[in-house]
């Protein structure tokens, strides 16, 4: 069975540096459990010389010697293992502080209740753009992440690529990660953040650098809705525009995810539903049914409006 969030495998430089330590302490732990529980079982069940045949052991008392040696040897060995692990930990910690080479790309990720905003920096202001819940990166290159808390504390975690770093309001945390090979790596909020903490996933998509550049250029471009979806655009503006932005249209809300290229994403509602026309319609019509308590309001609208909005969104590739 696939477990996309397991962290006993790794697919990137940062996770690679940590994985031997993770496996190492896990193996040490299992060995310690086996040895100590073995000793415990032996201590309980070992055969004892019969000193007073037939006597009720409850009445007897002993003061044998030698028990302390046990403690000294056991604690001595334990201490050596603990000190060694501490040194290994320090070494690994020093290694992962910075990427093997300097990151060229910086992405600012903001955790919101209950979705992820990703803003791609560039030296050219015109090339800065924002997307949500699906973060593309070039494979084989280190990427720097600036992590910001949008409302409450969340935690940014892509186990196949790196450990967790919290997004905390009022401070900026920096981390980095790197994917060796192209692929889709699942991420998840891991700091409890309220009602929909469970449904706050995201994906890091590592592309070949050329494909990444293609994707980036496409994301930079504003949407260009054709005239056929004018009704949908107008309905979107009135119903959804206060919260959502679609660049190239008057819809410029900042509360929810930027939807300029929503159809380029594989899922909607922060990894909760696959991005299919049916799920998209269902999500717009009944967001509180899908993610109870989330901040997207249930808006009464006619079936015609709903369809028009869905059709409009489907043009946002």
């Amino acid at each position: 069975m696939s477990a996309p969030l397991n962290y006993l495998t790794s697919h990137g430089a940062r996770a690679d540096m940590i994985l031997p330590l993770t496996r190492g302490v896990l193996i040490i732990s299992i060995i310690v459990i086996l040895i100590v529980c073995g000793l415990l079982a032996a201590a309980i069940f070992r055969r004892r010389p019969v000193e007073a045949p037939g006597a009720d052991p409850r009445g007897l008392l002993f003061r044998p010697r030698g028990g302390l040696t046990f403690v000294y040897v056991g604690v001595g060995i334990s201490t050596l293992v603990l000190v060694a692990t501490t040194i290994w930990t320090m070494k690994t910690l020093a290694d992962v502080v910075s990427p093997p080479r300097e990151a060229k790309l910086t992405i600012e990720v903001t955790g919101h209740q209950w979705w992820w905003e990703a803003r791609y920096f560039s030296e050219k202001p015109a090339e800065i753009f924002t997307t949500a819940n699906e973060i593309h990166i070039p494979a084989g290159e280190p990427v720097r992440f600036k992590l910001i808390g949008g409302d409450v504390i969340h935690s940014f975690w892509v186990p196949a690529l790196a450990g967790k770093t919290d997004t905390i309001p009022g401070q900026t945390n920096i981390t980095w990660l790197q994917a060796e090979r192209p692929g889709v790596y699942r991420g998840q909020c891991t700091e409890y953040c309220g009602k929909q903490h469970a449904n706050m996933a995201f994906f890091v998509v590592a592309d070949e650098p050329a494909r990444f550049e293609e994707w980036r250029q496409k994301q930079i471009a504003p949407a260009a809705p054709s005239a056929d979806v004018a009704q949908g655009l107008s309905a979107f503006q009135t119903r959804c525009g206060a919260c959502h932005t679609v660049r190239g249209t008057p819809a410029g809300g900042k509360v929810g995810p930027d939807l300029t290229h929503v159809m380029s994403r594989g899922t909607i509602a922060a990894g909760t539903l696959p991005n299919t026309p049916g799920h998209l319609t269902g999500w717009i019509a009944n967001p509180q049914g899908v993610k109870p308590g989330n901040h997207m309001p249930q808006i009464d609208m006619s079936g015609a409006d709903l369809n028009a909005i869905r059709t409009f969104l489907q043009t946002l590739g």
Binding site: P4, M17, G67, S78
Partner: protein, 658 residues
């Protein structure tokens, strides 16, 4: 608050006799009726109340856990709404950590300490009564939110900004904030009582190298509580002010610091975790020797490791915060300390194993629980060691691996020893044995159920399942492990129910137990079961760690004297001794039953209800009642009331201070 008189002349030394016992019985007996119910200061009565109340909270917390496990048994279930789930998991944690784990140990220590120490009560009996009433009322206060549908919903750790009013507008967090400050008063006064009791009311001759390990455990915890509870009370008070009176301590948009909360909380909560296991480890250290028929291996090392754990435990709090973006220097320091803290735990584990190895185990139900605890302690210990390593913790933290770890630690090192302690001391408390056959079944059900429930959590954690999620999708590989966990949880629950069944049956039909059913060596086994209100007819003099074993072990320089000693029968009297060597120093004049602690607790409750509703008249009314109770409490010359015999005796010299 006992008054004391310098010991200027040797009081009468007598041999225990029936006439003296009868006289002491009248003096020390809790009054019948409502006065006794509300006013008792008997440590045994208070101890039992603590234990019973904490087990009721354990039951409630357990039912909450089972409901959570139903919701998580399969992916995408809708048994609970997200908000219901969040309130339930929060109340589960709050109930278990605050309303069960510490109070149950407080209850045991309350009941047992004076018996272990050869005293007639704890040093501050009315403070002791106050601590119970405050505990009960603060627990009811927190649970009132539950029945109003506004239970705390931000986890026991209660992180801001989610706890701020902006994100959490209901009264949920106000209940929790005030309830925690409220409960903190109870724990503080109870800890003060334990510290004074351990320092000054030990039997003559019980120098600090002869104290049972349980006493070391609770003493260490109590000192820690006195040091760290102010931090968390402050944090919750600042949060209360933020939420109700517009301050900005935790509001980032106004320059407040979310991480300030985490520091104030964890600098309390990590030592607290040690505080709720060290006394239980003490139970194992004192229990194993009885069932292994030999004294504990490495008494001094174990006592020192108890204190070392707590001392080092003050330097590990940020290992709950490794992912918050701390500096590398801080990460290295706290990581190192968090790994090295395993050394004193290793001392205890190897001392226990050596005690069993070199002893001759008697396989009682209690022994099963104590030995089982060692295995669970090792598993919970090594998973804690793993989370101490920062880079590994960046992966492990906030996944089910940590849920597994903390349950191995808290159930393994608190619940298992406590149940073992029930099997061991139930005959002392009631005069009747618990059924041993049921007890062993009880152990195996709990042990197998526990491991079935919590071991798979390590695996769902390694597979990336985050904590505190109300549901999970079917395609992430966690479904089977969660189902096993849910089944194990119910099995474990059946095991716990069997304990209640055993208690209920044995209370009615239990086999008669004498004074010393297990042939134990410490002072509590020298007196009848159940103990009389005055505990000891004459106050014992102690010459070794095991006064009842010394004839057979020949390990004491002299001999303890249990049947001849100070009578101290002029009112409620007991002996105050010196801190290190326990040399007789003063005669303590102990208080009688009093309404003052109950009234004080009621007044305090009214203050907190007033604060909850931001009602100044409410707070004022509570303050007035509290003030009256304090006056009643501190009114001079009340200690000798209610003792007709004492009234005819020549008065003692004027007490030098209170």
């Amino acid at each position: 608050m006992a008054r004391h008189t310098q010991l200027t002349q040797t009081p009468a030394i007598v041999t225990a006799n029936a006439e003296l016992a009868e006289r002491l019985h009248k003096v020390w007996e809790t009054e019948p009726g409502i006065k006794g119910f509300l006013g008792t200061v008997d440590h045994k009565e208070i101890g039992i109340r603590y234990i019973v109340t904490s087990f009721i909270f354990l039951l409630i917390g357990g039912v909450e856990a089972l409901i959570l496990r139903v919701q998580l048994a399969q992916p995408d279930l809708h048994v609970l709404s997200p908000e219901q789930y969040n309130q339930l998991f929060t109340m589960h944690g709050v109930s278990m950590i605050f309303l069960y784990a510490m109070p149950v140990l407080t209850g045991f220590s309350n009941y047992l300490w004076p018996l272990l120490l050869g005293a007639r009560d704890t040093a501050l009996p009315r403070v002791n009564a106050l601590s119970y009433w405050l505990y009960l009322f603060s627990g009811l206060f927190i649970y009132a939110s539950f029945f109003m549908g506004h239970a705390p919903n931000d986890g026991w750790f209660n992180y801001v900004p989610y706890a701020n009013r902006q994100y959490n507008p209901g009264p949920n967090i106000d209940f929790y904030s005030l309830g925690m400050i409220f409960l903190g008063i109870s724990t503080t006064v109870s800890s003060a009582n334990f510290v004074v009791t351990a320092m000054r009311t030990r039997a003559a001759g019980m120098s600090i190298n002869r104290i049972p390990i349980l006493v070391w455990g609770t003493l260490t915890s109590s000192v820690a509580n006195l040091l760290v509870i102010p931090a968390v009370s402050l944090a919750f008070f600042l949060l209360y002010l933020d939420r109700n009176y517009g301050t900005k301590f935790f509001q980032p948009q106004s320059g407040g610091q979310p991480l300030l909360w985490q520091h104030l909380f964890w600098i309390f909560a990590h030592p607290w975790v040690y505080a709720i296991v060290l006394p239980a480890m003490g139970m194992v250290s004192d229990g194993l020797p009885i069932f292994c028929r030999r004294p504990l291996v490495g008494y001094t090392l174990v006592a020192l490791s108890t204190m070392a754990t707590m001392a080092i435990g003050f330097g590990v709090w940020t290992h709950h915060m490794f992912a918050t973006g701390m500096s590398d220097l801080a990460l290295s320091f706290f990581s190192g300390v968090s790994i090295i803290i395993a050394v004193p735990s290793a001392v205890a584990v190897f001392a226990w194993i050596a005690t069993i190895w070199t002893g001759r185990p008697v396989f009682t139900a209690a022994f099963h629980f104590f030995a089982g605890m060692i295995a669970l302690f090792v598993i919970g210990g090594v998973s804690g060691f793993m989370t101490g390593s920062v880079p590994v913790d960046w992966q492990l933290t906030d996944t089910y691996f940590v849920v597994a770890h903390l349950h191995y630690v808290l159930i393994g090192i608190n619940v298992f020893p406590v149940v073992g302690a029930i099997y061991m001391w139930f005959p002392k408390v009631t005069g009747k044995f618990l059924d041993e056959r049921l007890g062993k079944l009880n152990f195996w059900l709990m042990f197998v159920g526990f491991n079935l429930a919590f071991f798979p959590m390590h695996i769902s954690g390694l597979l990336g399942m985050p904590r505190r999620i109300y549901t999970y999708p079917h395609d992430v590989g966690w479904s089977a492990w969660n189902l096993i966990t849910s089944i194990g949880a119910f099995l474990f629950a059946i095991g716990v129910l069997l304990l209640f069944h055993n208690i209920a049956v044995s209370l009615r039909r239990g086999k008669h137990a004498g004074a010393n059913p297990w042939d134990g060596g410490t002072l509590e086994w020298a007196i009848p079961s159940p103990p009389p209100p005055y505990n000891f007819v004459v106050l014992p003099t102690v010459a070794g760690r095991h006064p009842l074993w010394e004839d057979r072990l020949d390990d004491a320089p002299g001999r303890s004297r249990l049947d001849t000693g100070l009578a101290l029968d002029k009112g409620r009297q007991m002996l105050g001794t010196s801190v290190v060597d326990a040399e007789p120093a003063v005669i303590l004049q102990m208080p009688f039953d009093s309404y003052a602690p109950f009234t004080l607790a009621v007044g305090t409750t009214i203050i907190f209800v007033g604060m909850l509703y931001r009602s100044w008249p409410g707070m004022a009314a509570g303050a007035i009642i509290t003030g009256i109770a304090l006056l009643l409490w501190l009114w001079p010359g009340r200690l000798r009331e209610g003792s007709p015999e004492a009234a005819n005796e020549p008065p003692f010299a004027e007490p030098d201070h209170v």
